[in-house]
């Protein structure tokens, strides 16, 4: 249903992921959009010749800084770090729901299809002015799921939490 994926140009291979934090851009449809290129000060997200083109990444230049994450209007940019700890990876996820989780909180790691895959520990919450109300949540998850966890579920619905 959303299978217009061409795959590889925006997703780093296992070798690159084994070297440290790196961006993953899950943008597989040509739409008129280019803020990710503007956000990257490493020159890793290449300039667009046509604003409708898919982003192209020079993974050798990407240092996994994550500046591009909250800039993407499609919330399609993540940073994965498979070198975080033995057996554990960190995925940085844009998250625009309340309540925001806090550092140390246990949440669920969720797949692209909304399925809970694993327990996840929040190790950092970035929410400065630069993030412009798109906070970035760092979650620690089993390393084997680094390319599967793309969302988190923070216990209960946001509305339940607000009410209580």
């Amino acid at each position: 249903m959303t299978g217009r994926s061409t795959g590889f140009r925006t997703v780093p291979d296992a070798e690159r992921r084994g070297k440290g934090p790196v961006v993953v851009i899950e943008c597989f449809e040509e739409i008129p959009c280019d803020p990710c290129h503007e956000a990257c000060n490493q020159g890793a997200i290449l300039a667009f010749d046509d604003i409708n083109s898919l982003p192209e990444i020079d993974f050798a230049k990407c240092n996994g800084c994550g500046r591009c994450i909250s800039v993407c209007p499609g919330l399609a940019i993540f940073v994965v770090d498979e070198t975080w700890k033995e057996g554990l990876a960190v995925v940085r996820i844009p998250y625009e729901f309340i309540p925001l989780p806090h550092k140390g909180q246990q949440v669920k790691g969720v797949s692209r299809d909304g399925v809970e895959l694993c327990d996840a520990t929040v190790v950092k919450v970035e929410n400065t002015k630069r993030h412009d109300r798109t906070p970035v949540i760092w979650v620690e998850i089993p390393r084997a799921l680094a390319m599967d966890v793309r969302h988190i579920r923070v216990g209960g619905t946001s509305f339940d939490r607000q009410e209580t």
Partner: protein, 369 residues
């Protein structure tokens, strides 16, 4: 009878297209009267809490609500733009006079040029009990929650997986409203893939080739029956499913809000790709009625980013036609047209490109009513 007001350029509608048109005409030196029926300037931007696509020129990456503030501030502090809020243009006479209703009285304004940027209205869908309270246009539900802070309901069935259906579903989730499912009659999602992914991650099913059969409820919506559609869009027998919901949101498309153009006698043509009847217009967005320009969804349904650039083209051209001339006018106009072209280049712009080609071909052969 009140006296006849005058103005150089009247811009009708202060959404993204109208605001940009007013600013661009003002930049050329023209005096502009900007009229809008709402309390706040910004049109639909005032409820668009999501970040915009496009490029820097159209504020890509900024949220619609912040773009509205930025553009509204710019016109509000400019003495050469008169802003009339809570004022509805209800008549457009053949001699070019506009009737404007404000505070239950009518004022008459005869501008030298008019830029119509009235936007679009949401389409309705026919199904039994679609008049029950709880059936909303998706845009109305979005206004309730994002402008007035009111939850439209507790559990929603969204009809339509175009960008509006997908974005409003996401914003309902942000407001703490449950979304039972998003239905789409077409066999594929119409909106951007990234918008679909945002709600799929949140676990919301998108049922393609499905539509609503019937809503049920005594005093308001209590549940809904949906069914599958085959490749000919006929309902599939025995495919019914039930959803317990108190709200049904319709996001089944927009149609240009062209009443004023009909009144003015602009020639109109039916172009399905542009959302229905659209005005014939030239490359500078002037209609067949000399001095009447158009911009934004009223000229053909598209994105806010292209609406803003159409506003630039119409604003510059209207001011130019009054004799205003600034250095770099030609260059600004050329850049704006190039930007429009670029935005429409990709696969998502195909429908609009086709619609505009059809519009221009019909103009060529003198079609239109």
């Amino acid at each position: 009878m009140s006296s006849l007001l005058t103005s150089e350029i009247c811009v009708v509608g202060a959404g993204p297209a109208g605001l940009k048109a007013a600013i661009s005409a003002r930049d050329m030196g023209a005096h502009v009267t900007l009229v809008d029926s709402e309390v706040n300037l910004g049109g639909q931007l005032v409820k668009q809490t999501h970040k915009f696509f496009g490029s820097r020129g159209q504020f890509a990456g900024m949220r619609g609500i912040d773009i509205a503030k930025l553009l509204a501030d710019e016109v509000s502090r400019d003495p050469s733009v008169d802003v009339m809020c809570e004022s509805q243009v209800v008549g457009f006479y053949e001699d070019g006079t506009l009737a404007i209703e404000k505070d239950d009285s009518i004022q008459f304004l005869k501008p030298e040029r008019v830029i119509c940027a009235a936007g679009a209205s949401e389409r309705m869908l026919s199904f039994p009990n679609n008049d029950l309270p709880g059936v909303y246009g998706a845009g109305a539900a979005q206004t309730l929650m994002n402008v007035y802070g009111v939850k439209p309901g507790n559990r929603v069935l969204m009809i339509g997986a175009g960008n509006i259906g997908l974005i409003v579903s996401y914003q309902l989730l942000q407001a703490g409203v449950e979304v039972a499912a998003v239905l789409e009659a077409m066999p594929h999602v119409g909106g951007y893939d990234v918008h679909a992914r945002k709600i799929q991650r949140a676990g919301i099913p998108i049922l393609t080739s499905h539509t609503i059969k019937e809503a049920h409820g005594t005093r308001s919506v209590e549940d809904a029956t949906v069914w599958a559609l085959d490749s000919e869009f006929h309902p599939v027998i025995d495919s019914e499913r039930y959803f317990e919901v108190d709200t049904i949101c319709l996001a089944v498309g927009l149609t240009p809000l062209t009443e004023l153009l009909w009144q003015a006698g602009c020639r109109m043509v039916y172009v399905p790709e542009l959302g229905g009847y659209a005005p014939l217009r030239c490359e500078n967005y002037e209609t067949t009625h000399p001095g009447v320009f158009v911009a934004g969804d009223l000229a053909g349904i598209e994105e806010a980013s292209s609406a803003m650039i159409e506003g630039v083209v119409a604003g510059l051209s209207a001011a130019r036609s009054l004799g205003y001339e600034t250095d770099g006018f030609e260059e600004r106009l050329r850049l704006a047209k190039n930007e429009l072209e670029a935005l429409r280049q990709g696969p998502t712009g195909q429908k609009v490109r086709q619609g505009i080609r059809r519009l221009m071909a019909l103009r060529e052969v003198g079609e239109g009513i």
